[in-house]
């Protein structure tokens, strides 16, 4: 505001030019205030400019949930390891990065009753573990562990990992007739974990894990 007043004082001899200068300043200020996109010249994000990219998430083994089976009261720890993990297939453009967020409930609840979240007699603590494989194969030996904090696992990786060597040229952006699906590849998510059965009531215990995938 102070800068505008100074400009008015110095251009008192030319009213038309004064109006022009003030108007430009005001428009410039409005433009800067309304623009919430920070300027970044270091990264070219081709995904931002294309609505033709697609991504899909599906179950590799639909009939199998993450099931710990029948356990006995006070049995203690029980786990599902990587080899027996729930497998999700992630199909997308191979040269793009994806952001993966996996969030698990902290407890399995008797009959899924939310009232058991604060009742130790009808809840079983669950610890999430997760990994991904992005070499084009469903192979746990090629998997990369995902760090889990408070039952939330987050990772960013390329759908298809680049082979050794320097990065290749930038991918071809979308143009008319270009079909990015022909460059699709499949990555795999492995979801597993463990529970600890204490002195809880007998019955069926359930919880859920949500998985969200975004292109970077």
């Amino acid at each position: 505001m102070n800068s505008i007043l100074i400009k008015i004082a110095s251009y008192q001899k030319s009213p038309a030019y004064l109006k022009y200068s003030v108007f430009c300043c005001i428009v410039f200020l409005i433009t800067n205030i309304s623009s919430s996109t920070p300027v970044s010249a270091q990264e070219i994000d081709f995904g931002q400019y294309s609505s033709a990219y697609s991504i899909s998430l599906s179950e590799f083994n639909p009939s199998e949930e993450l099931e710990f089976g029948t356990l006995i009261q006070n049995q203690g720890p029980a786990s599902i390891d990587l080899v027996n993990a729930k497998i999700l297939t992630l199909e997308g453009v191979k040269y793009l990065d994806v952001l993966v967020d996996i969030t698990a409930d902290n407890y399995l609840l008797l009959n899924g009753d939310l009232g058991c979240e604060t009742d130790p007699s009808c809840r079983i603590p669950f610890t999430l573990e997760a990994a991904y494989a992005n070499r084009g194969n469903n192979n746990v030996n090629e998997s990369v562990n995902i760090t889990v904090l408070s039952n939330v696992a987050s990772a960013q990786f390329q759908i298809l990992q680049r082979t050794n060597g320097p990065p290749g040229p930038p991918p071809t952006p979308v143009y008319e007739g270009y079909d990015p699906n022909i460059f699709n590849e499949t990555a795999y998510l492995y979801i597993y974990g463990s529970i600890n059965v204490g002195n809880v009531d007998a019955g069926s215990y359930t919880s859920s894990i949500s998985v969200t995938i975004n292109y970077d």
Partner: protein
């Protein structure tokens, strides 16, 4: 001239502002999501209680075999298993064990017979074979076993004999 230039500048600035908002609207990334269900079935632990041990009573002179019928003998052993109501379980046991003389080294071979019932009624219990048989707890979470068997005492050395009998019960 100045007004014409100003008009061009204003138009340019308006286009710049409008374009900037259009690109911002296009920043929404593609997203997919899914849910996975986690489950576990918790059952009560299985307990096996021995209510009565099996006895043969006194051996009569000339008697060659002792037999305790688990279905109708008052000398039969009696055990109660408790667990998850209506849950199926598997019974495993060795049908033949060796009894050892208490004050000696003689041995006798005993062949077990077991009968079972979901209600506490020995006379209506049924013989259970040694194959890993699937049985079910009652609505109250109980199952009843009676233990009998036979032993050949033709060449047995007089004395007291004892041995352990083991049953394994597992949920199926």
């Amino acid at each position: 001239m100045q007004l014409f230039s100003m008009k061009k500048l204003v138009v340019s600035l308006i286009i710049l502002v409008s374009t900037n908002h259009f690109l911002f609207a296009q920043e929404q990334n593609i997203q997919v999501s899914g849910d996975i269900k986690v489950g576990a079935n918790i059952v009560s632990s299985i307990d096996l209680i021995t209510v009565q041990s099996m006895t043969f009573g006194n051996v009569q002179p000339g008697q060659q075999e002792l037999y305790v019928n688990p279905i109708n003998s008052i000398n039969a052993g009696f055990m109660i298993a408790t667990g998850n109501p209506e849950a199926a379980f598997r019974l495993t046991y060795l049908p033949e064990i060796v009894l050892t003389q208490v004050d000696g080294t003689s041995t006798l071979t005993f062949m077990y017979e077991i009968s079972g019932n979901s209600i506490e009624n020995q006379s209506t219990s049924e013989l259970l074979d040694t194959e890993n048989r699937s049985i079910q707890f009652s609505l109250e979470g109980r199952y009843y076993f009676w233990i009998g068997g036979r032993i050949n005492i033709t060449n047995a050395v007089p004395g007291n004999y004892e041995g352990d009998f083991t049953i394994e019960i597992d949920y199926i």
